[in-house]
Symmetry: C2
Amino acid sequence: MQVVPPLPGRGSPICIIAPVALLVSAAVAFAGDEDADLLKTARSLFPPLPKDAAKVDRPITPERVRLGRMLFFDPRTSGDGSASCSRCHLPQFHATDALPTSIGARNRMLARNAPTVFNSAIHTSQHWDGRFADVEDQAIHALTGPGLGNPDDRSVESRLDAIPEYPGAFRSAFPDDAKPITARNIALAVGAFERTLIAPSRFDDYLAGKANALSDAEQEGLKLFIGTGCADCHRGPGVGGDGFRKFGLFADYRKATGANNPDKGRFDLTKDPGDIDKFKIPGLRGVAITPPYFHDGSINALPKAVRIMAKVQLDTDLADDEVESIVAFLGSLTGRVPADYDRMPLLPPGGYPRAVLGMPR
Amino acid sequence: MQVVPPLPGRGSPICIIAPVALLVSAAVAFAGDEDADLLKTARSLFPPLPKDAAKVDRPITPERVRLGRMLFFDPRTSGDGSASCSRCHLPQFHATDALPTSIGARNRMLARNAPTVFNSAIHTSQHWDGRFADVEDQAIHALTGPGLGNPDDRSVESRLDAIPEYPGAFRSAFPDDAKPITARNIALAVGAFERTLIAPSRFDDYLAGKANALSDAEQEGLKLFIGTGCADCHRGPGVGGDGFRKFGLFADYRKATGANNPDKGRFDLTKDPGDIDKFKIPGLRGVAITPPYFHDGSINALPKAVRIMAKVQLDTDLADDEVESIVAFLGSLTGRVPADYDRMPLLPPGGYPRAVLGMPR
C-alpha cells in the first residue's frame, strides 16, 4: 500500500530556495561527509518505491492480474480492434509510444503525450490534467474514450463475453459477482495489473545504501537536481506524480517550447482561472528513454527539456555542463522492466466479427 | 535452405480422388499396419519443416536478425508512427491480428486478412494473391504500401538514420555497404528475422516418429484430412503455402461464406480470366488459433471454414463428426512460438518529431 507523503512548502516557487541553501551550506561545511549528506537529503526527498501499489479496495490478486494483463494487451477491448492499453504503452518504448501525442482507436489523435504506465499507479492522480483519480478510473474511461473508442460499455462487455476463456477468467477474478464481465471489472483487473508495474532503477539501489549504484557524475547530477530546485516538485517515490504546477511560472511555456498550442491543462477541466496552464507534475522515472517530452510531446531531446524546465519554472539558465549533469542523473531513473511486461501473453483466439467493424459482408 | 517440392497432379480436382482411394484400401487391407501406413502417407505429403528458411542470397546472420527484429516491432518504420510489421502480426495472436482484414498506418483498411508470419518464409510466394516473391519482396513493398504508409523510401530511411543505435545496427548487419540504411536493407533485415520464424508443432513430432504426439482423434482427423482431399492442396512442409487455387471450384465462394465482396484474387493482379477467384493456398500451420478465416476474414469458426472448404473445393458434404475430426487434427498444427517472438525488444528511444506527422507546433 502506497501513499505519497504530503510535500510541504510546494505552494510557491519562492519556497524552492530553502532546501537548496541548506544543501549547499552543508556541502561546504562538511566536505568529508558530502556523500553521506547527499544520500540523507535524497532519502528525505525520495521515500522508497513500494513493492506494488495495492490498496485495500484495489486488491492485487493473481487472478485479477492475469486477467488484467490479458485485457491490457488485447485490441479486442477497442471499438475497431486496432487499439489496446498497450497501443500507447508499448513494451518497446518503456510503456510509452514514442509519439508526441497518442493515436487511439479509429485513428483518433489524443490530446496529450502518453506517459509510461510503469510506476504510474503510485501517482496521486492520472492524466496530465489529473482528471482521473487512479488507474482504475483512467481505465474505465478509456474504454469509451478516444483511446479505445467503444460506443458504450455494453459493446466491449458483450464482445469479451463471446471470446473463449474470458468468461472463465472473469469468474475467477471476480468470484462473488453474478455477472462478472462488466466495464467496472475490466477496469479493476487492468488496474490490478498496472499496480504491479513498479520499476525500480539504479537510483533505488543508491537510496537503499549501495553508494556505487550511481556514478560520480550521476551523484553530481542528483546534487544539482536538488540544488537547482527540480526536486521541489519532482520528489516523492515517483520523482514527481503528486500535485499540479503551472507550466511556465516565469515565461509562457509555448514561447520556450515553440509549441503553438492552446492546451491550458487543468483549466480546460476545472475552468478555474488559477488552473490556467497547470499540469500534473510528471513522474520522472524512465524519463531518459521516453521522449518526446512535455504534455504535447513538443521536445525530443532531454537536455533541451531540462534547460526549458529550469528556465520557465525556476528562472534559471543552466550551463551546458549542468544540463549534462542533470541528464546523467535522470538516466539513473530508468527502471528495470517489471516482470514480463515485455512478454506478450498468447490470447484466446476469436475473430473480430466483420459486422462489429461495420465492414460489408 | 528450403525448396517446396513440386506437387504432382494438382491441376484438376479429379486427381484428388486417387490418393484417397489408395489410403482407404490400404487401411482396409492391412488394419494392423494402419498406423504405420498413415505415418508413411503423411511423411510423403508433408516433408519436414526446415530449421530456418535461409537462402544463399538471403543469409541469416545474427546481426541481420537482431536488426530485423528491432525493425519488425518498431512503429517508427511507418508513416504516422502507428504501425509496424507487428501491427498485423501480433505475438498475442500467433502473429496475426484477429481482424477480418488488417488496418494499416493512417488507419487504412487493408484488402485482405493477415496470415501468420510464422513459417511464411517457406511459402513459394507472399500475400493472398502471391504478388510478392518472398518475404523480403513483401517487406520492401510494405514500407510504402498501405501497411506502413510511408510516402517514399527516403522518408523512412532518414527517420531511422536519426534514431540512436540504428546507424550502428545497420552498419553491423551490412558491413560492406557505404550507405547501409536503405529500404532494400530494411527488407533484407526484416526478411532475415522472418526466415527464423519456424514454428514446429506436435504434428512435426509425429512426423519425426513420435506416434503418441497425436491423439487417436487427431490421427483420425489426419486420415480424413488426407482422405477427403484437403491434403491435395494443403501439403508440403507448410501444409499449404505453395501455388494457387480457385476458391470456389464447385460453387461461388461468396455464396458459401456470405461475403458479398468483389475480391477476385489473383485476377485483380494478372487480369488473366483463368485467375478469377484464384488465391494462394494458405498454409494451415497455426490455423486453429488464427481466426477469422479466408482472404476476407469472413468466417470466424474453424468448423464452419472446414465445412465450406469441403463443399466448395471438393463438392463434399462433411458429417458433423468428420468436421470435428479434421478440426482436431488442425489443432495439432499449432506451432510453438519461435524463440522470443513474444518477447518485445526494448528499442532505442527517439521521439517521432511532430512535424513528420503534420502536427501543429
